[in-house]
């Protein structure tokens, strides 16, 4: 990307570097949020529906982990994936895969904690009906998750927001390699450190616009779907 160019100019010119960076940012964050939902929602639901020793401790921990600093998560994943670390043989450090791993870890609590609360509340409402219909534990979880899907969507959007916005984790495990692991947020950090503040700000506004657009699209889909099934 050329120096001192207006960020909007880059969009208008269809600058390929900018588009590659946007594509990577979205790919990493979207895949991470999908994985986090696949793992975090059943996790939250199970926590809501089962009783065991230390359950309260686990719930407090899960809630607290919503605030896990991205740079700490990044550091932990870095040490795991480093060649000198336990999972070094995977060879995914400084690649988009590592970025997905780090972001997934970050987002799981953000999806799981609200899921737990929502499912717990829903269970107290649905308990008698589902028991009367003879629904077993597995069926309970799937039924409640599906019925709560619109509320859970907000948790997923929160997770996506966190992923799209963070720079600490992806910087450490991705290495901000030009043309390979450079995302919107790491580019903004880089341009800031090169002193090109107008460009950094412009990129920042583009990022915010994209995230707003995605949120609007998801919301629109929800309204449409709700109209179908109440």
């Amino acid at each position: 990307m050329s120096d001192q160019l207006n960020a909007w100019q880059l969009i208008l010119d269809g600058d390929p570097t900018l588009f590659a960076i946007v594509r990577l940012s979205l790919a990493v964050s979207l895949v991470a949020v999908a994985l986090a939902a696949l793992i975090g929602m059943p996790l939250g639901a199970m926590l809501a529906l089962t009783r065991f020793h230390g359950r309260s401790v686990l719930i407090v921990l899960l809630n607290a982990l919503m605030g896990l600093p991205p740079v700490v998560a990044g550091l932990a994943v870095y040490l795991l994936l480093s060649r000198s670390g336990p999972l070094g043989a995977l060879g995914i450090l400084f690649t988009p895969a590592a970025m997905v791993v780090a972001q997934t870890i970050l987002i799981i609590p953000i999806v799981a904690a609200p899921t737990r609360q929502t499912i717990e509340d829903l269970w107290s409402e649905y308990r008698d009906e589902l028991s009367a219909m003879g629904v077993g534990p597995g069926g309970r979880m799937m039924t409640l998750l599906w019925d709560a899907r619109f509320s859970l969507l907000t948790a997923v959007l929160a997770g996506f927001g966190r992923a799209a916005a963070e720079v600490g984790a992806v910087m450490i495990v991705g290495g901000n390699i030009a043309g390979f692991t450079r995302t919107m947020t790491t580019t903004i950090a880089l341009e800031t450190s090169k002193g090109d503040l107008p460009l950094a700000l412009g990129l920042g506004l583009i990022l915010v616009a994209i995230v707003i657009a995605i949120n609007a699209a998801v919301w629109g889909t929800r309204i449409w779907a709700e109209r179908q099934v109440g």
Binding site: A27, L30, I92, W146, A178, T192, S193, K194, G195, L197
Partner: protein, 277 residues
Amino acid sequence: MRFGVWSIALIGLLGVTLAAAPATAEDRSIVVASTTSTQDSGLFGYLLPLFKAKTGIDVKVIAQGTGQALDTARRGDADVVFVHAKSQEEKFLAEGFGVKRFDVMYNDFVLIGPKSDPAGIRGKDIETALKAIQAKAAPFVSRGDRSGTHAAELALWKLAGIDLESAKGPWYREIGQGMGAALNTASAMDAYVLSDRGTWISFRNRADLAIVVEGDKRLFNQYGVMLVNPEKHPQVKKDLGQAFVDWLISSEGQTAIAGYKIDGQQLFFPDAEKKGS
């Protein structure tokens, strides 16, 4: 059922992302741990396409401070390390993590400060300048991050006979970040800061800052390159990495380095000797 289809689609997407990563790693590419000065000055943006055109090798640069770059290499997460702190590099070699060290190029440091020059040091030599800054407690930003520039800064204070530990005060601000961040901070605080010339020339947020001291022989800054020792880390791509090292010190590479200019000014001066140590 819809749920199932979505899960499969997303797992597929993940699979593609994951597959893409190591596959590229198997292609001809190497990881080079280097410093923020080589990145922020734009040197790599200029050199690497030339190298790729010649050899087809993709160079992935992780830009960190010198200390961090050497640590990354010690952990085996890089194939080549290209930094500018000779004593730290020699320690790295002595520990057995590097194969051989080659001089590649040098640039110089410059002392940057506010145009108003509260310490009154414009045009002086570096020793006098630092003594004046400390005496007048003029705001000074230090990188504080074990980088080559930081190491050089500390060495210069020592040269000026100042014991930083006792002389430090609120005027000395260690930020623990890269050159760009240090310049931004100095710009915002109207403070003095030691910078490499290359980063300064390509820095865009100068506000009221300008060069106040330059040209002193003691501000000379040497860069060196090393291949990470495959005996310590067998997965190091030694052939591809060596190709990069060789190219940097070859006449082609050296000419390329000299050819990098911003606003007509040459930033780095090639000085490879090819025998290495």
